[in-house]
């Protein structure tokens, strides 16, 4: 008789690979086989060429600073394996499944272990593919022997497994705390966006500030973090098994602990996490709020803005706009997504500003216009994509049953979509205004430049919202962020927005050479998107209004 944890792990694996269910076994073996070939042959074969194309400087950098660089690499991997499973799992609260398991006399320890084990194949494959890309530059630059490489890979897998277990523990605890309720689901989805911001920091750090990040991670305080212990074990493996005769003496300032101590701490930490999980399993799985025990939110009254909007649009349309604003803005997942977009929109120009520190105080004529343009485009692209995906994507319709209700009213879809659009355009003002002010302050732009950025970003966002509503109305996804339709719509929205922006940008550049006018280029590069958006919106709403055929 198979163990209960094995049955749970198997079910988890089946759920994750449900899209491949017809070829599950074949595709798993194929992927594993390709992963091994990828790690042992493909990456080691092509990496020397890639490294030599960067010149000898990169190899020297790797040889001279590998302990701190390795900490950056492991931080990146650690956050991916820790945060991504949490973010993914929070998109769906699964208390109902827990109830079934618990009612079948499955121990909470078996559940915890089964959930963890079920994730191992997919994340194991992920590590199998990503680890060679991250480690091979070091093994080549430092001529690490096969034994050394084996230790490096084993360490990465061990760190990944222990991190995956930690993330399973955290996810389970959060899910249990939130409970299976509409409110809990909303908070969970909002949290999944918030934790995604944590991935951005090391990612941007590696992309733009590798040097600075490495020196920061070289500080003693990072000896408290598990990724540091793993990274340091790998660094010690490099020192012990490199073919260049590099000794430890040059790196003792960073590698404060020896390899065995690092290994011991990492093992103790992992054992401690497992122990906590097993001891606290019963407490973790005693879930909190359900649909009838959760906090009840009572609506007290309308704020000034909503009353003004009612005054602006008297009659049924005003009621629908106000209702749409309330419904959209009360969902934490919508708010967190927009905040995520704003953080991203502000972060990119700030990075640009930091990387332009050496810029002269009074730049030549035309350069300032170029900066305004680049900042506008950065802001416009990020906000257009996030607003499009949020207002038009997940924030458009909650469920298919809701669509039946809307369609059962005369002209219901047209009225509903119009109200949703006006709601989006109201809220987009706020979403655009805050990042525009932030970049104006960072770059010390004047009022005209600020107005140009604001106008361009808003107009682009309007276009993206129209495009996204049009696409979603053609192929409704509701709030299911895991559906194929959602992926397709998101991809289509981003693709169309990017393509139109790039083409109109070229048109704008061509005109700028002739007309030398910044407002003109901004108008040219944003208006086609609005025009395309209006077409897609009208087509989408017409199709959505039709009586269904299936």
């Amino acid at each position: 008789m198979p163990s209960k944890w094995f049955a749970i792990a198997k079910a988890e694996f089946f759920v994750q690979t449900s899209r491949l269910r017809r070829w599950r076994k074949a595709s798993s073996i194929l992927l594993l086989g390709f992963g091994i070939v990828w790690a042992l042959w493909i990456v080691p074969t092509i990496m020397p060429g890639i490294l030599s194309s960067f010149g000898s400087g990169v190899e020297l950098l790797l040889q001279g600073t590998f302990p701190s660089l390795m900490r950056s690499v492991m931080l990146f991997l650690w956050i991916l394996v820790l945060i991504y499973p949490i973010s993914y799992a929070l998109q769906e609260i699964r208390i109902g499944q827990w109830e079934i398991m618990l009612s079948n006399n499955v121990s909470t320890r078996s559940m915890m272990f089964g959930f963890f084990l079920g994730k191992v194949p997919s994340y194991g494959l992920f590590v199998l593919f990503i680890a060679p890309v991250l480690l091979t530059p070091f093994t080549i630059a430092l001529n690490v022997s096969l034994v050394g490489q084996a230790i490096m890979y084993l360490t990465v897998f061990f760190v990944a497994l222990s991190t995956l277990f930690l993330s399973t523990l955290i996810t389970t605890a959060i899910q249990a705390k939130l409970g299976e309720s509409s409110r809990g689901n909303d908070i969970a989805k909002a949290l999944s966006m918030v934790v995604a911001i944590a991935v951005l920091v090391p990612m941007y750090g590696l992309m733009y500030f590798a040097d600075a990040l490495s020196s920061v991670l070289g500080m003693d305080v990072f000896l408290l973090f598990p990724f540091t212990w793993g990274a340091d074990i790998i660094s010690w493996a490099i020192i012990l098994f490199n073919g260049l005769g590099i000794s430890s003496s040059a790196f003792l300032a960073i590698l404060k602990l020896d390899a065995l101590t690092d290994l011991l701490i990492l093992s103790v930490f992992t054992g401690f996490v497992v122990l906590i999980a097993l001891r606290a399993a019963d407490r973790i799985f005693s879930f909190g709020a359900g649909p009838r025990t959760e906090k009840i939110v009572t609506i007290l009254g309308e704020n000034v803005l909503l009353r003004k909007i009612r005054g602006l649009f008297p009659g049924p349309f005003g009621v629908m706009v106000v209702t749409s604003i309330k419904e959209f803005s009360r969902k934490m997942q919508n708010v967190s997504r927009l905040v995520y977009g704003m953080v991203l929109a502000i972060l990119l120009p700030v990075i640009l500003s930091v990387s332009m520190q050496s810029f002269p105080e009074n730049p030549p004529e035309g350069v300032r216009d170029l900066i305004v343009m680049i900042v506008s485009l950065m802001l416009g692209m990020v906000l257009a994509m996030i607003s499009g995906a949020t207002f038009g994507g997940i924030g458009f319709l909650e469920s298919r049953d809701q669509l039946w209700i809307i369609k059962s009213a005369p002209g219901g879809v047209r009225k509903f979509a119009k109200a949703r659009l006006v709601e989006s355009l109201f809220l987009a003002v706020l979403i655009v205004f805050i990042p525009a002010i932030a970049v104006a302050l960072v770059f010390q732009f004047g009022i005209i430049e600020f107005a140009a950025i604001l106008a361009y970003t808003y107009w682009t966002t309007v276009g993206a919202v129209l495009i996204s509503i049009g696409i979603t109305a053609n192929n409704p996804t509701y709030e299911d962020q895991r559906s194929a339709a959602f992926m397709l719509n998101t991809f289509a929205t981003i693709f169309i927005v990017m393509i139109i922006l790039i083409f109109s940008l070229f048109a704008g550049f061509t005109m700028m050479m002739t007309f030398q006018s910044l407002p003109l280029i901004l108008i040219v590069s944003s208006t086609p998107m609005v025009a395309m958006g209006i077409v897609l919106y009208l087509v989408g709403i017409a199709r959505m209004s039709r009586a269904d055929t299936v």
Partner: protein, 256 residues
Amino acid sequence: MSNSIEIKTEKLSKNFGNIHALVDLDLEVLRGSTFGFLGPNGAGKTTTVRILSGLLRPTSGNATVCGYDIHTQRNEIKADTGLLPEAPGLYSKLSAVEFLEFIGALNDLSGEILHKRIDKLMSLMGLENRQNDLLESFSSGMKQKVLVASTLIHEPELVFLDEPTSRLDPSASALVKELILIMAKETETTFFICTHMTDFAEDVCNIIGILNEGVLTTLGSPEDIIQRVGVHDLEEAYLKIVGGEVDKSRLLSWRD
């Protein structure tokens, strides 16, 4: 109940690929009547309601609802009908009042008249103390009551109710039953009710249609059907007609 016809269908059919969800439905429902549409899961009841309320195109056949053609006058049909869908599609982040305000606005209602109706319906449903709470915290029965209110808020001439009492407790179910009876009697509102609950249908409906695998097999008053089949109540008649009688000898065979 008057003699004017509220719903008339002629050879109405709907196919989903190879599946025949509805086959040549010929039906007449009089204004002010309460029509009960019975049938097992997947018999085609919801498909029929969706076609008649203008949400789904039929594969073939014709129908008029409230005097309007289902092919060309869907908006007119929607204006005169109300639909309580099978599954509740409520907005979790709106209060009951806000949701009813939204539905009213979809049906071109606003202002004092809308708010008076909302207040009265909330009070009738016994939800006045919870009317400003977000719907996410409502039980399924309370949500169903809000949906019933939303179906009636624009005073439709014809109401489609798809499983109206499936999530309600006995007292709420009795309330809905009485509401249907009084509306049909006093305001000549026509009700087209899809249900599995034979006792509910027997109490409320003056005409029953039994649909099995897309085909309307039986039509008549509850008493008439019971008499024709030669049984004691509508449940027994239903089981005889659709073939749902239980073979008691097989009930424990799965343990072998």
